[in-house]
């Protein structure tokens, strides 16, 4: 036993220290109590709200995207449910990222670089889903959703994607939907877009994005702190389906136009071509084909970086709608402007004869007539019909550069046509250096209808989700041309004369009345023989009653009227052929359209080789 402690040996108890220790304990516990009082009683309500916000959050309910039909009601796009694979970066541990990405890439048959690129260019926050792959096969999706812990951060989502049944036929018109890009997101976020949303990227899908998208609904969902959804709680607002569109495009005419263009390009060995069919009475575009093209389904499925880079690198620019987004020199088709201008400004009359020559000398430079001979003194009916260069040089001289520019602007050159598609170009120069195919056909449509320059349109009606017409079709007049109607009648007759004098070979033999103007536009650099490569153009006008009748053997009476039903344009890029390829393409289209059994095509004119002879 230890010795007993008695009073003498008792150590001196540090009474002050006990007191101070007790005070410190009271202070500390008091401090904790005060802070708890502040947190739980004073600020309690605020934290309850925060806590509620922590477990419930608003989540968007995607709306059904509107559909697109052609003018006859053929569906051009469908919404199909598919599996999409997404990654929530916050759930993907950085040290496992390489492993997860490479496994995901092999499962999805993707390039790991594409996956890493998607994660790194993620426009949202680390808590937002990043789209990795769209349209994943069922088996893969099932495998991925079961992988769970092996693939942290990877989520499989069911969503609707666009399917374009007609594929390449209308791809440049429709465009496609794709993921929101990082630079778009800040602006789109305020409109309710999500970082992993899909939206129209080009074409009609982009131009009519607002109408097609509809309005996303909102629901509250319960989540745990790691962001995983536990359950849907309630729908706050219902999603409102997007509007559907009826196009002015006729899928059947589109197919015919594409068939004609494909034939012409193949026969003449062309790399690019455009065909546009327009109703001159309304500005409705019935067909618009630009080749080469691409399949918009590839984009809707989520195109790989490699495939996209290949499309971008293609020097014939398949992603570009050459009908509206590219400009080319118009060549002789431009004589419409010069001729109408000279007549309107009374520089000449219909009976004025202008002497055509083998060439004109301006300073030291010889400007050759295309046939190197000329046709003597001829009126505009013949000058236009033969597409005489020396004739129109002189007219241009009479007009002067300012008036020429004025008339070009009046016909709509040098300004976007305002067509309801993205990327509508203005053309460069004072409106007469280069033109877009849509500007050119629109000018000829105004010629055909007696002077009404309409805004070309590809969407006819906007239909609400309930089937009601939200926006009916109405032609949109840009302006009435300042060209007198009598002048336009003369020019239409001159255009008929182009066909009659067989400038366009056997086009006149067609059982229907067609007027038109061809064009050959040199570009690029001369070859060893001093010849230039050239594009060829043709714009054809078909009257309301095209049938040839005995009372109108030349078709002039039909062309004097302003009731043309069709204007058809063909553009053949770099067509170094013997004859005008564009004319043959338009001819073939008209044969198909009017169901003409006899084949009038001149295969021999499409032989390749630089035969610069016709204009």
């Amino acid at each position: 036993m230890t010795p007993l402690l008695d009073g003498r040996r008792q150590y001196s108890r540090p009474n002050n220290r006990f007191l101070i220790f007790a005070l410190a304990a009271i202070l500390a516990i008091g401090g904790l109590t005060t802070r708890l009082f502040y947190l739980q009683i004073v600020n309690g309500g605020q934290f309850t709200v925060l806590s509620e916000g922590n477990r419930t959050s608003a989540e968007a309910i995607p709306s059904a995207r509107g559909l697109i039909y052609d003018r006859r009601g053929v569906a051009l796009v469908k919404n199909v449910p598919t599996f999409a694979v997404k990654i929530r970066p916050v759930d993907l541990p950085e040290d496992r990222r390489d492993d997860v990405v490479s496994r995901l890439a092999s499962l999805l048959n993707m390039d790991p670089a594409d996956i890493n690129g998607a994660i790194d260019s993620n426009p949202g926050s680390r808590f937002d889903l990043v789209r990795i792959a769209t349209d994943v096969p069922d088996a893969t999706a099932r495998l991925l959703s079961e992988a769970g812990d092996a693939l942290p951060g990877v989520e499989v989502v069911i969503e609707a994607r666009r399917q374009y049944p007609l594929g390449t036929l209308v791809s440049q018109l429709l465009g496609y939907t794709g993921p929101v890009s990082p630079d778009q997101l800040p602006a789109l976020r305020t409109e309710g877009y999500l970082p992993d949303d899909l939206l129209g990227k080009t074409g009609i899908e982009a131009y009519y994005e607002t109408q097609l998208r509809g309005t996303y609904g909102s629901k509250t969902v319960e989540k745990d702190a790691s962001g995983r959804k536990i359950q849907d709680l309630q729908t706050v607002t219902q999603a409102q389906s997007g509007d559907s569109l009826t196009l002015t495009i006729d899928a059947k005419e589109q197919a015919l136009a594409q068939k004609a263009l494909l034939w012409g390009m193949r026969a003449a060995g062309l790399k690019r071509g455009v065909v546009i069919v327009e109703n001159p009475q309304t500005g409705e575009i019935l067909a618009m084909v630009s080749l080469p093209t691409y399949d918009d389904n590839a984009f809707a499925r989520g195109i790989s970086g490699k495939a996209y880079a290949k499309l971008l690198a293609d020097k014939n620019k398949p992603l570009l709608n050459h009908a509206i987004q590219a400009h080319y020199p118009p060549g002789s088709t431009y004589k419409l402007v010069t001729g109408s201008g000279a007549l309107s400004d009374h520089k000449i009359s219909t009976s004025t004869r202008v002497t055509t020559r083998p060439y004109l000398l301006l300073g030291q430079t010889k400007f050759w007539e295309w046939n190197h001979r000329g046709w003597g003194a001829i009126p505009i009916m013949l000058g236009f019909a033969h597409s005489s260069d020396t004739f129109f040089f002189q007219l241009a001289g009479m007009l002067g550069i300012d008036r020429l520019a004025h008339w070009a602007k009046n016909f709509g050159f040098g300004a976007p046509t305002g067509i309801d598609l993205p990327g509508d170009q203005a053309g460069i120069g004072q409106g007469y250096d280069v033109v877009t195919p849509i500007q050119l056909i629109n000018a000829y449509a105004a010629l055909a209808n007696g002077g009404k320059l309409y805004k070309p349109q590809v969407v006819r009606q906007i239909i609400g989700p309930d089937g009601s017409v939200v926006r009916p079709f109405a032609p949109k007049l840009i302006r009435r041309l300042a060209v007198p109607r009598s002048v336009l009648t003369t020019m239409r007759e001159a255009a008929r004369n182009v066909v009659l004098v067989r400038h366009t070979y056997n086009l006149v033999d067609l059982p229907i009345v067609v007027a038109g103007k061809s064009g050959t536009a040199e570009f690029g650099i001369r070859d060893s023989k001093g010849r230039l490569p050239f594009h060829s153009w043709f714009i054809g006008i078909v009257p309301k009653n095209p049938k040839k009748v005995a009372s109108d053997p030349t078709g002039m009476k039909a062309m004097a009227r302003e009731d043309a039903q069709l204007v058809v344009l063909a553009f053949a890029y770099d067509s170094r052929t013997k004859g005008n390829t564009a004319t043959e393409i338009v001819k073939y289209y008209l044969q198909l359209h009017f169901n003409i059994k006899h084949d009038y095509r001149n295969f021999d004119l499409l032989h390749r080789g630089n035969f610069y002879q016709s204009n």
Partner: protein, 386 residues
């Protein structure tokens, strides 16, 4: 003092009298407060188990493990109460060796998260020996400081205590376990203060430590260590980890309000918002589910427990007893303040458990042993007087 109830000697019922006296000297209040706190800990184990969707009474749940550890702790408490604490003085140095051995073993064969070694597997259970080491630390310091009564005005005594603490402290830092090492410093400071050591020296030493911090920061710490310290001191720099936890924890506490959301109803807990909700952040769940009223109950129980510990120290005529009670009180107070402070956003996040409430066998058993020793001191003071 009036606390010692001496009775006239009656030889005939020596045994009965001895046990009766011991029972009377046993601090029932101290045991009751500790028991109530342990029951609150079990309640939290229960609510955690329910919210994690476990069948509460099936094997391996937090609750069942809690019950088991409480049982073991009760036995440890009874055994240490019966054991004469004076042997601790005799065996202070072997106990010191045992402490170092346990910590060395933890370093050698322990395991933990992210390369740390904190736990040793004992059968199916993980046991954190550094908890036990804290109690042994108090025993060793009590012996040292108790024996040097009257010589504590000198610097050597203070430095001696520091030298005693240094080896285990370094071993804990090597694990690395910043939380436990901080608790050890807290215990040392509290015990030095209560030992009556010269305030002048203590003050100058504290000043010296504070003054040397910039030198340590600039010349001794490496960049990655600084970074760790920075994120330790500033949780908001690590929003995904510690900062996130802190924020969620405050939301949990705040949403408790006056009366709490009710047991098993804490949204933060149910939704798994708090990562270490059964151990270091258990208080957040407690405060959410039981509210401010529950908080008051908890704090009053702790205050009462600390008061009874101080009374035991005051009563003790043996400096060892006074020192031990002070050391245990320092430890509990320090852990309470740091843990609750962390949960309610007053302190940075450290891995310090809340005594009795945080789940962990080692912590509970160590507390039971510590309280048992204090009861042993209580009982044997009475006998000594008589």
């Amino acid at each position: 003092m009036g606390v010692i109830r001496a009775e006239p000697a009656r030889i005939t019922d020596w045994a009965a009298r001895s046990i009766g006296a011991a029972w009377r000297a046993f601090d029932l209040q101290l045991a009751a407060y500790a028991g109530l706190l342990a029951i609150l800990g079990l309640v939290m184990a229960y609510t955690n188990s329910v919210e994690q969707g476990q069948a509460v009474l099936s094997g391996g749940t937090t609750f069942v493990r809690g019950l088991m550890w409480t049982g073991i702790a009760l036995i440890a408490f009874v055994v240490t109460t019966a054991f004469d604490y004076k042997w601790l003085k005799t065996f202070a140095w072997p106990l010191y060796a045992l402490q170092l051995g346990l910590l060395l073993a933890t370093l050698a064969i322990g395991h933990g998260v992210g390369g740390a070694s904190r736990w040793i597997s004992v059968g199916p259970f993980d046991f954190q020996f550094s908890e036990l080491a804290k109690i042994l630390m108090i025993v060793v310091l009590s012996n040292y400081l108790g024996a040097r009564q009257g010589r504590l005005g000198s610097l050597t005594s203070i430095l001696g205590a520091c030298v005693l603490v240094a080896p285990p402290w370094i071993l804990v830092m090597l694990q690395p376990d910043l939380g436990t090492s901080l608790v050890m410093i807290g215990i040392l400071a509290g015990m030095l203060f209560m030992s009556g050591a010269s305030l002048r020296w203590l003050g100058s030493m504290a000043g010296l430590v504070l003054a040397s911090l910039p030198i340590v920061w600039n010349y001794i710490l490496r960049d990655y260590q600084k970074q760790r310290l920075l994120s330790f001191l500033d949780p908001s720099s690590d929003t995904q980890g510690a900062g996130y936890q802190l924020f969620q924890s405050q939301i949990a506490v705040g949403s408790g309000g006056l009366t709490g959301t009710g047991l098993t109803n804490g949204s933060q807990n149910q939704l798994n918002c708090l990562p270490v909700q059964e151990s270091d952040f258990v208080a957040a769940i407690y405060l959410e589910e039981l509210g401010f009223v529950g908080a008051l109950v908890l704090l009053v129980l702790f205050a009462a427990l600390l008061f009874r510990l101080m009374v035991a120290g005051w009563r003790s005529k043996d400096p060892f007893g006074m020192m031990f009670a002070s050391g245990l009180a320092s430890m509990i107070l320090f852990q309470l303040v740091v843990n609750l402070g962390m949960v309610i956003g007053l302190m940075p996040i450290t891995g310090i458990p809340l005594p009795f409430i945080s789940h962990g066998g080692a912590s509970l058993i160590s507390l039971a042993v510590g309280l048992g020793i204090v009861q042993s001191i209580n009982i044997r003071q009475t006998r000594a007087e008589w």
